[in-house]
Amino acid sequence: MFEKLEAYLEEISHFISGPEERKEILSEIRSHILEKAEQEFGAVTDVSLDQVITAYGPARRVAEKYLDGRPIIAPALKRFLFRYTALLFAFHFALTVAAVVFVKKSFIFFPILYVPSMGPFEALFYLPTAFLFDFGVVTLVLYLITHGKKEVKLPWPKLSVDLDEAKPSGRTIGRIIGLVVMTTLTGAALYLYARFGTIFLIKLGSGEYRPIFTPDAGQWYSLILIGLWALGTISLALKLVTSSPWIDAVKAGLSLVLLGLVFRQPADTALAGRPSDNFVFWLQLNLTIIVLIICILVAVDFVKALVRIGRRQLAK
């Protein structure tokens, strides 16, 4: 029993499926390695085995040669993987928004989808999991098609914005103007925040400035808005030097987190002074709707950026 040889064969066995085939392949390799060690080094020893095993190649590479290069998903189906995942996630996303808006409403499409009722903050944590689930479901279907014996003709849904034909958004001059505007806006907001502890102010008739929200809420909402503008500024600056889709993905991801934080502050006690119940209800409803609409737009950008990253990796 040669431990090194057995360990090597054990490693190869992890990559080969089918018990009978695996046993046969491992016997072939064992026989060859022992034979070569004896013929070329005079005896089977740990040293000679070590050299023969090194020459035979890394376990994974050896196993790959037995697998006939059969991929998990046929290369021709990879575009379907991204397109179908994008569509399924769009559907999943719409249901999630509905579950947030119509509180206490769950959606079940057994066994594909289960969208529980949830608040906006939970939804932001639910969506990445939903994306991975959708990706997994589509992968499983394409895996079965790849390994099935029947020829399956898959439909090719056209998207209104075809990601393949999407051109890099914005030109350099536009980006520079945008950068100047965003830098000014972020700078002005920082100045107001440093001076008043909030950026949400109204000017009174006497020329005085009064905060709209309570100090805690004002600070919270101000920091979120400044954070969102700062993200926009940084991403515009980076886009001047690189066209990496990671910029959009990271910006959209962080923006979603910041938007989710809006709901951590209870809106009914956020206003300064003594507002009426009706006004508080109106504010809460509008704030939720506006933030959710922004969330949808940002999430669409997020998915687009992820799909572009996936396609870029695929092209590589």
């Binding site: 392949i25 026989s31 060859h32 034979e35 004896e38 190649g57 040669k65 037995y66």
Partner: protein
């Protein structure tokens, strides 16, 4: 050899190795002896390429195998089948045709 050429060589070797193995196995041989014979002829074949190739040929019925344990260490001997001989004849025919085409074009070029 630059990587591009090496890539083409690998592609060309794939077909050649099929013909070579099917020709060698007119006499029963085991894997290591095949590697040695091929190497002695001045041609290199990666061991971890030969065994999967033999396996594919066997799966398709062009080669048959049996384990021999008479000499202490088990050895798997391979031999060609009738289907393998037919395939070899076809492959050699294709190779000959390709060779003729190349020769014809090269001769034509030299006359221009």
């Amino acid at each position: 050899m630059d990587p591009e050429t090496s890539h083409f060589e690998t592609e060309m070797n794939r077909g050649f190795l099929h013909i070579l193995v099917l020709t060698m196995l007119e006499k029963d041989m085991y894997g290591y002896s095949m590697v040695r014979t091929i190497r002695d002829l001045g041609y290199e074949v990666e061991e971890n390429t030969l065994y999967p190739l033999l396996r594919r040929l066997e799966k398709n019925g062009w080669v048959k195998s049996k384990w021999d344990v008479s000499e202490g260490r088990p050895r798997k001997f391979y031999g060609i089948t009738d289907a393998g001989r037919s395939l070899r004849a076809e492959l050699l025919g294709i190779w000959k045709k390709q060779d003729e085409i190349l020769k014809y074009i090269m001769e034509e070029k030299s006359h221009v």
